[in-house]
C-alpha cells in the first residue's frame, strides 16, 4: 500500500459576482429597480434577446468597474472587449451571455485581509470583468401531471454584473470568509454595489483543493456553488476540506467537479459535470465595439475614489485609537464619516482628547442606537454637529456625563438639540441674565434687611442674597453671573 499524506494544505480561490447599482441595465435602458416588481415588467427587446436588436454599453457601469479595479489595486486594461459566452439555458434569453474573456477591464490586483489573531495577508485578484446577469428561474411541479417545469422572469436579465476572481491564495475557510467581508466592505465604500449576499446582489462560488503540505502543484479542485451567506461559504469550505482530506487519506482520487452546498443538510453534493471553457465557444461580441479606456478617463475615476477602509483605519490608529476602535469605526464609510465629522466639530481642545471623546460616544451611544433601532447611522437625528455640541456641554460642565446619556436618548427620539433637551429637562446651569435678573429683583424686594446691610457696607450680605436664588433654582444658576447682577441692581438704586 502506497504511503498517503495526512497533512494537507488547503488552497481556496473565490469568484464573486456582484451587481452594480446603476439605474439602468448593462446594455439597455430598462430599470434595474425590479426588486418586488411583477415578473417580466422590466424588460425590452434587448434584454429579451429579440433578433436584430443592438446592445449599447452603460457608461456608468464602466466607470464603476474601473473604480472597483482601482480600489483593488488592479491594472486598468487600456484596450478591453466584450465576448459572447455560449450556452443554451433558459436563464439566457439570447442563448449566450455577454461577458469578457481574454481582455477584462481590470486585472492583477490585490486585497489585504487579516483574520483575527493572525498577520495581515494580501490576496491576489486575478481579474475583474464586466458581464450581464441572467434571468431568474422558478422551479414548479404541475399539480395534475406531477411533472416539473420552470417559470422564467427576465427582470434581472441584463443587470450589470461584475465578476471578481481571486488568485488561489487563501489557505483556510476563515481567510475566505475574511476576504469576502473585506471585499464587500470595499465595494460598499466606493458605492458601486449594495453587496448584499442574502439579497443575491453579491454571490460567491468557491474553488477548493488540498495538496500534501510542501507540494508545489495544486491538487484536484472542486467548485462549490449555492452558498447564500458568509456563514454558508465558511461552512461549505470546512465541510469540503474534511471530505477531501478523508478521501485523499484513504488513497482515493478526487474528481474535478461542481458541488452544491445544501444548507439544511450541512453538506455539499455533486452536481452536473461542467462544460469546459472551450465548450462556451467564446468569440468577440460583434455588436459591441471595444473599449479604449484612456488614462485621462481612468484618472478622472481615481479622483473620485474615496478613502478606503484600510486608509481610514490607519488614520484612526494615528489619532491614538485602539485597533478595536479603529476597526469598528471604519467598518462602513457612513460610520467613519460620522465619526470624523463629530471629531472635526470638537474644536478648541486637544486633538487626541477630541478623538477619544468622539470615539467613546460613537462606539457607545451612537452604535447602541444603530443596533437597537436597526437603522442606518445617517438616519440618526443626532447629527455629528449636535453630538459634538452635547460632548462640548459635558466638557464645560454644563451637564454631567451621566445626564448626557439621557440627553442623547431624548435627542435621538425627538430630533431636538442638546441645548433644548437640557433646558427642557431642567438639567442646565441657568446663565440667561434676563431670567436671572427677574429672580434677583424678586429676592431684593423680599429681603429688605439683607439689602440694607449690603448698602450699609456689609459686602457679605450679597452672599445671602445669591444663596436665595440658588435655593430657588436648585443650584443651577450661574453664580458668577448672579454676583454681577446683584451688584448691578443694588448699586443702581
Amino acid at each position: 500500500m502506497p504511503a498517503v499524506a495526512t497533512d494537507f494544505e488547503t488552497v481556496i480561490g473565490l469568484e464573486v459576482h456582484c451587481q452594480l447599482t446603476t439605474r439602468s441595465k448593462m446594455f439597455c435602458a430598462c430599470s434595474t429597480d425590479y426588486a418586488g416588481a411583477a415578473p417580466n415588467t422590466h424588460v425590452c427587446p434587448v434584454c429579451l434577446g429579440m433578433p436584430g436588436v443592438l446592445p449599447v454599453i452603460n457608461e456608468q457601469a464602466i466607470a464603476d468597474i474601473v473604480m472597483t479595479g482601482l480600489a483593488l489595486d488592479c491594472e486598468i486594461t487600456p484596450f478591453s472587449k466584450f465576448d459572447r459566452k455560449n450556452y443554451p439555458y433558459p436563464d439566457l434569453m439570447k442563448g449566450y451571455q455577454i461577458s469578457q474573456y481574454d481582455l477584462p477591464v481590470c486585472k492583477g490586483g490585490s486585497l489585504e485581509i487579516q483574520v483575527e489573531g493572525h498577520e495581515p495577508r494580501r490576496i491576489g485578484i486575478t481579474r475583474v470583468h464586466m458581464e450581464e446577469d441572467t434571468a431568474r428561474l422558478l422551479h414548479r411541479t404541475d399539480p395534475v401531471t406531477g411533472d416539473g417545469y420552470s417559470l422564467v422572469d427576465v427582470n434581472r436579465s441584463g443587470t450589470p454584473l461584475m465578476e471578481i476572481v481571486s488568485e488561489p491564495d487563501m489557505r483556510t475557510p476563515a481567510e475566505a470568509r475574511e476576504y469576502l467581508v473585506r471585499l464587500r466592505q470595499v465595494l460598499r465604500y466606493i458605492g458601486v454595489s449594495e453587496a448584499n449576499m442574502e439579497e443575491g446582489n453579491f454571490r460567491c462560488d468557491a474553488n477548493i483543493s488540498l495538496r500534501p503540505r510542501g507540494q508545489a502543484e495544486f491538487g484536484t479542485k472542486v467548485e462549490i456553488k449555492n452558498m447564500n451567506s458568509f456563514r454558508a461559504v465558511h461552512d461549505a469550505l470546512v465541510f469540503e476540506e474534511k471530505r477531501q482530506a478523508a478521501a485523499l487519506s484513504a488513497g482515493e482520487k478526487l474528481i474535478q467537479e461542481t458541488r452544491g452546498w445544501v444548507d439544511e443538510r450541512n453538506e455539499t453534493v455533486s452536481q452536473r459535470s461542467k462544460e469546459h471553457a472551450n465548450d462556451y465557444r467564446y468569440f468577440p461580441e460583434p455588436d459591441l465595439p471595444p473599449l479604449r479606456l484612456s488614462s485621462a478617463f481612468v484618472e478622472s475615476v481615481r479622483a473620485r475614489l474615496p478613502r478606503l477602509p484600510a486608509e481610514r483605519k490607519a488614520e484612526l490608529l494615528d489619532l491614538g485609537l485602539s485597533e478595536h476602535e479603529a476597526v469598528t469605526l471604519s467598518e462602513s464609510r457612513d460610520r467613519a464619516d460620522y465619526y470624523d465629522a463629530v471629531r472635526a466639530a470638537l474644536t478648541g481642545g486637544e486633538p487626541a482628547r477630541a478623538a477619544k471623546l468622539a470615539a467613546n460616544w460613537v462606539l457607545g451611544e451612537v452604535l447602541r442606537w444603530v443596533n437597537t433601532t436597526g437603522r442606518d447611522i445617517q438616519d440618526l437625528p443626532v447629527t455629528p454637529d449636535r453630538l459634538a455640541e452635547l460632548i462640548t456641554m459635558v466638557g464645560q460642565g454644563t451637564v454631567t456625563a451621566q445626564a448626557a446619556k439621557s440627553v442623547f436618548e431624548t435627542m435621538a427620539e425627538s430630533g431636538k438639540t442638546a441645548a433644548d433637551v437640557v433646558a427642557e429637562q431642567g438639567l442646565a446651569q441657568i446663565s440667561g441674565s434676563d431670567e436671572l435678573r427677574d429672580m434677583v429683583r424678586a429676592v431684593i424686594a423680599a429681603n429688605e434687611k439683607a439689602v440694607a446691610d449690603y448698602r450699609a457696607g456689609k459686602d457679605s450680605a450679597i452672599k445671602f442674597l445669591i444663596g436665595q436664588v440658588m435655593r430657588e433654582t436648585k443650584g443651577r444658576a450661574n453664580p458668577a453671573l448672579l454676583q454681577d447682577l446683584f451688584t448691578e441692581e443694588l448699586t443702581e438704586k
Binding site: T22, R23, S24, A29, C30, S31, A38, P39, N40, T41, H42, V43, C44, P45, L48, V56, I57, N58, E59, Q60, A61, I62, K81, N86, Y87, P88, Y89, P90, D91, L137, L138, H139, D147, G148, Y149, S150, L151, V152, D153, V154, G260, Q271, R272, E275, D279, R281, P284, P286, L288, P289, P290, L291, R292, L293
Partner: protein, 95 residues
Amino acid sequence: MSLTSADVLHIARLARISLTDAEVDRFAAQLSGILDHFAALAAVPTAGIEPTAHPLPLSNVMRADEVASSLPLGDVLLNAPEREDGYFRVRAVLE
C-alpha cells in the same frame, strides 16, 4: 482536418440538437471542410500583426445611465408558447 463522429455528437449536444447517424456522417464531412478552410487562413503568416477583434474603427460607444420605459407585459409574452402568471413557462430545467 477531419472530425470524428464523437466530435460531431459533442458539438450537437452543445447545440442541444439530436442527429441521425446519416446526419452525423454528413456533418462530419461538412464541418471538416469548414475547418480545412480555416486551416488555410491559419497558414497566413500573421506574426507582428495586431489581432483584430472588430473590423470597424469604433470604440467606446456608450450610453448614459438613464432609464426608459420597458415593454408592456402583453407584448413581452406575445410570442411565448406557454405562459403562467406573467412568467414564461418552459420545460423543467434540471441542474
